[in-house]
Every structure is written in C-alpha cells, then in structure tokens.
Symmetry: C2
Subunit: 227 residues, 2 copies
C-alpha cells in the first residue's frame, strides 16, 4: 500500500504548465481546456485528464475549477518560469554562441529546455554574462523566479505612428524570418501606417523595403510603451 506518488517531473507536465502560463497572459486569467488542447496539439479529453492530475498533487501545480478553466498555483508558476528561463537562456545561447539563425532557436530550445541541469543552466547564464533578454526581446526570468513585467503592447492595437519594437513572438518561424529580412527586430524603430483595414504598413530605418503585415500577424509583435 505504497503512497501513490505521481511523477511530476516530466516533459509533458512542463509543457502543460508552460502553455497555461503563456495562454493565461500577464493577468494570469483562467485558461480553458480547448485552447490548451489546441496549443498542445492534444485532444481536449487529454487536457482534462492532465489538469485533474496536476490539481490533485499534494502540492498542486494548478487551481482547476471543472468547466471553468485552470490557472497556475504559486508552485506551478514557479515551475513554469523555470522552464521559460531555460528556454530563453537556450535561445540566447544558440543565437549568440552557436550562431543559429534567429528563426531556428525556438524549436531547438523547446526540446532541450526539459533536460538541462541546474549546472548547465548556470554555466550558460555565466557564459552569456547573465543576460536579461533573449534574442526575441523577451525578458529572461531570474533564478529566483522574478521577472519584471514588460511595458509593452501588441502592434495590433496601434494606428499610425513611430514606435520601438519591444519583442517578437518566437512561435512562428516563417514570420520571424520575414520580419528579420525587413529589419523588424527588437529595438528597431518602426514607422507604422495602420490605415488599411486588415493590414499594417511597416517601415524601419534599417529595413530597405517596407512591409505589409496582416493584422493577424501583427499580434506577434509588441512595441514599447514610452512614458
């Protein structure tokens, strides 16, 4: 009659926590199963299943209200941020030390983030000089799990004007490549014409050609809020 101890240290658990973290957004809102299922490429039933497990742990990773969605517990968030830290350190490392093209760092980091030791994490961090941001402009959580909120908003929101690029989502590698080709990288200054209904017209000082970006893609770009 051994106490049933669920293995909480799996790649799969990592991925659920990360997805909940990402989908919950800065407000850490409850996330529903369907959305999670889509993000994870898994059947909704599988999500329900896993959420029940994560919520039933002795020290639960999530608060789960059936049919009302999940959010991370403190422990869950801590864990999610660890993985995010791994991911972003790895991306930075691949980019800076191993000369990966920016649009390829994500997939590699996605696989490795689950398997690097504390020691390797530390060595990479040291080698990079304790970076604060990854090559997409995302903040790298500190060892203690602290991460400053980014003062930024999605490009989707804007009308016309001039802005500085804060960060770019690493989820869509083709888009990332295209943006790079037009000089749209973190820190770049952007002249935006948002007059057209479904798309934005972007121009950078560096980028030779202007870029017509569907608003649907513009949500992948965040711009700095200057105040």
């Amino acid at each position: 009659m051994t106490t049933r101890r669920v293995n909480t240290n799996t790649e799969s658990v990592d991925n659920y926590l990360k997805a909940i973290y990402a989908l919950g957004g800065p407000e850490e809102e409850r996330v529903n199963s369907t959305l999670l299922a889509e993000r994870l490429g898994v059947a909704p039933a599988s999500v329900t299943n896993m959420l029940q497990k994560l919520a039933a742990l002795p020290r639960p990773f999530v608060e789960y209200e059936p049919r009302r969605g999940v959010r991370l517990s403190a422990a869950g968030k801590r864990r999610a941020l660890e993985i995010v830290r791994h991911h972003r350190l790895l991306e930075t490392f691949l980019y800076q030390v191993l000369n990966y093209p920016i649009e390829e760092v994500h997939d590699e980091a996605e696989r490795l983030e689950h398997f690097i030791s504390e020691r390797l994490e530390e060595r990479i961090d040291a080698k990079l000089g304790r970076p604060k941001f990854d090559p997409h402009g995302h903040c790298i959580p500190a060892l203690n799990g602290k991460m400053s909120k980014q003062a930024s908003r999605p490009l989707t929101d804007v009308e016309d004007g001039e802005f500085a690029v804060d960060s770019i989502s690493d989820q869509d590698s083709a888009l990332l490549k295209r943006l790079k080709a037009h000089g749209v990288t973190p820190g770049a200054r952007l002249h935006v014409k948002g007059s057209a209904k479904d798309e934005l017209l972007l121009r950078t000082t560096k980028g030779s050609k202007p870029l017509r970006l569907p608003r649907s893609a513009a949500k992948s770009v965040r711009i700095r809020i200057e105040n």
Copy 2:
C-alpha cells in the same frame, strides 16, 4: 488495419544500442542479457523484451539469438555510433566551451545526447573545429559513422614500464576526479610499477604525488600502443 509501426526513436532504444555497442567491445562480441540489464539498471526480463522488439523491426537494430546474446546489426551500429558521436561532441563542448570539470561532462552529455538535432550537432562540431577526440581521449565518430580503431590496451594488462595515457573511461566520475588530481589525463606519460598483486603504482611527470590504483580501477585507463 494500419501497419504496426514501432517507435524506434526513443531514448530507451538509444540506450540499449549504446550499451550493446559498449559491452560488445571492439570485437563486437555477443552481449548477454544479464550484463545489459546491469548496465542499464533494468530487470533482465525487460532486456529480453526490448531485444525481441529491436530484432523484430522491419530493419532490425540487432541480431538476437535467444539465450545466446545479441549483437548490433549494421543499422544498429550506425545508430549507436550516432549517439556516441553526440555524446562525445557534447562532452567536448561542455569541457571546452562551458568549462565543465572533466568529471561532470559525462552525466550531462548522457541526458542531452538524445535530444540534439542534426543542426546543433553540426554547430557544435564547427564551433569546436571538428575535434577528433573528446576530453577523455576517446575518438569521436565521424558523421558518416567511421571511427578509427584505437591502438591501445587497458592498463590492467601491464607490468612495469613507461606509457602514454590513451584514454580514460568516463563512467566513474569519482575515479576520474582522482586521476585528474594526480595528473593522469589523456596524453600524460605514466611510470608504472605493477609489482604489487592487487594494485599499480603510478607516477606522472606532472602529478606531484604518486598514485596507488587498484587493478580493478586500472581497467578504466587505456594506454597507447607504440610501435
């Protein structure tokens, strides 16, 4: 009635192939289940199970004669060498680029070797300048799977004399650390007194203190054959 396709790309399969490769030795002799079970930290029954699967693949990884042991097929050997290449490149990388202490590279590489992409393998190889040997003195298999046989023999064999260290097994981290402390590293010259029954007396030019090494540990050290 979909053709049942066994997933042949798992960490577990990797580990079996690597173990068979390692235990088979340069002669690629048949390896028996118990030995494999011990090496892999798994019950003998589990080994039998896996061997049957590996032998039953459309393009089998092993030749398996029940109760007589296994050896790798050509495909199996190719695959094993890929993993060994990953492992040794990673060890070299951790050692040279990330300043790992030699006795810690093994465990980290052991985990990561299963998850690095071709691309990462290539980048690491390039960064290191296409190294031929890992920090333990082991030959790194080429991309095409070729690996030159090492002209060396175990230190266990020798009586007295002077020798050059060829390589040191990475399996026992404590031993590795001790050897390092006494200057016993690949390439080092070794003065050996093998007169005592159960142990060897080693002395290097670099190592300050002489080292008394049980013959059981001496099998972890290989010396060059000069001819």
